[in-house]
Amino acid sequence: MNGFVWLIRRELWEHRAFVYVPLIVGAVMVLLTVLLSGQIINALELASDKVASMSQQEPGAAFGTVVGIFAVAVALFMSFVVLFYLLDCLHAERVDRSILFWKSLPVSDSSTVFSKLAMAMVVAPLIVLASAVVFGLIEMLVLTIDFSAAGLNPWESLWRSSSVFGTILFLLYGVVVQALWHFPLFAWLLLASAFAKRAVLLWATLPPVIVIWLEKLVFDTEWFARQLGDRMIGVFPLAFESVSERQIVINGEGAEIELGAPLAEMINPGPFLTSPGLWIGLIVGALLIAATIWLRRYRDESI
């Protein structure tokens, strides 16, 4: 286990973008808020009645919203970091022959492949989560100043019953289901990285494009394309109770629904865990990872 931590550390040493991209995205967003403080204060002053009544209706949503926006923004950039990382990580070591150094260490090929996979499935999501929470808190401090300057009570309109814990729980659940759902995509990219001699991106994208094209040509259907789209963004309707459904519940049961942790209430693992899509994805991903490990182990690059 200790060895695995070193493998992760090594990935972070080589791929600095995992650390500095979230830092830059978060810092730029906070900086923009600071720079736009004047306008924000003006807008708040103009709409102070509305803001006050909104925060009466849904107190506690502010923190969740702010952190959510940061999480989405950082995750967007991080997904590109992860994409190019996965395409690169088992290819570059063969190009510069450093694979021979890595293979001289008593580390199994499966540990190596799992460390790369863990970067995409565990490390990157946790960095997104941590940076969203930290920058979200900083953003809340900036907004506190803005709200005070606009004559609003920041405690009442921003912080009161903001559920920090509920928000983190929501994000944690979000990154876990997202990682499990995306697992076959990650595994596919790793396989392309371990397989391709050059043009890894092409090897990763061309086969699915060809399958989609052939399917259209032969059956005139779009099943595979829809599966692929669903695989990329389809986890949220599955794993979260949508806002509109929640609204219905609130209407149905009266005002008794506690409003303290609205985000955490959206967590709805039942349909996710029972969906065939999850389990088929896990099986396909496992097969692709097995193929990747096999390539890393037996591929001989010398000729």
Binding site: L100, F101, L105, P106, S108, S302
Partner: protein
């Protein structure tokens, strides 16, 4: 003592190219074995098979393990420097020390630091900023700090200038080698290692054409410089190779007692490079 490496009938093809052709050999502990052969003779393939880096046919036992299935366990006790400049270019020297320390249970960081203190290599530098010679020194320092039983070196000094080359083998002999360890080295530069080796193995077209200890070479092989008058007489003694040398003919004999040859001309122990040429070129059809 049991052999450290035991290879029987190793074969390996790359498409139509035969890299290893029924090669059998063994390496005993406490030896420094030079594996020497022309380009494409199968040296690197043999090493890769030993290190578990390539699939092959035949039987191979390294430290009691099958390298095909147990590479990562084997690497606990086997080190290798595959070539110069395979250290990852992005890594800092200090990171490399920490990483190998974290991943290799037999690595001793103080030892590596001690070796590095004798060089000009700064701990904060990235590998890509180091000269070729320094990268090799760093790799050697990493490897020598690992308490391994077998060290495999594939053309370790290729592309290095002469000072680094000499230092490389001096460090290896003085600070690393002892009777518990075994070194297997391939190289083109036969001259620079002939005083280092205890055993010699020639490989040609995937076959082992010579497997001999350095001590036995003088007994098995004799090179004789023969004047023009005695050429036919020398040929009658069935030399394995002959070549033109400064107006005389140089004949290589295998398994002929030196006393029988001395009357032909100046008889001497052959150099490894002459022996290599005789064994490899003499075997050509």
């Amino acid at each position: 003592m049991e052999a450290l490496i035991q290879a029987r009938a190793l074969s390996k093809r790359y498409g139509a190219t035969v890299a290893l052709d029924n090669a059998s050999f063994s390496v005993e502990p406490g030896r420094i074995v030079g594996l020497i052969g022309p380009n494409g003779a199968g040296k690197t393939t043999a090493l890769k098979a030993i290190l578990g880096l390539t699939p092959f046919d035949g039987e191979l036992n390294v430290l009691g393990r099958d390298p095909r299935r147990e590479r990562h366990q084997l690497m606990q006790e086997v080190c290798f420097i595959a070539d110069v400049a395979v250290l990852p270019r992005w890594i800092k020297v200090a990171q490399a020390l920490d990483l190998v320390g974290g991943l290799h249970p037999r690595f001793r960081k103080e030892k590596a630091l001690h070796f590095l203190s004798k060089t000009e290599i700064p701990l904060g530098a990235k590998v890509k900023t180091l000269s070729k010679g320094m990268v090799t020194q760093l790799h050697l320092a990493l490897v020598m700090a690992i308490d391994a039983r077998l060290l495999v070196l594939d053309e370790p000094t290729i592309g290095l200038d002469i000072i680094y080359r000499k230092e490389f083998y001096t460090a290896l002999l003085n600070d690393y080698f002892d009777e518990r360890r075994t070194i297997l080295v391939t190289t083109h530069q036969v001259e620079e290692i002939q005083n280092v080796l205890t055993d010699l193995m020639f490989i040609n077209r995937g076959r082992i054409v010579l497997d001999c200890s350095m001590d036995d070479i003088a007994e098995r092989f004799t090179e004789v410089l023969v004047g023009p008058g005695q050429v036919e007489e020398a040929r009658a003694m069935r030399p394995i190779y002959e070549e033109q040398a400064f107006g005389q003919k140089a004949f290589m004999f295998e398994g002929v007692a030196r006393e029988q040859l001395e009357h032909l001309g100046e008889a001497r122990r052959p150099s490894i490079s002459d022996l290599f040429v005789a064994k490899v070129k003499g075997a050509q059809p």
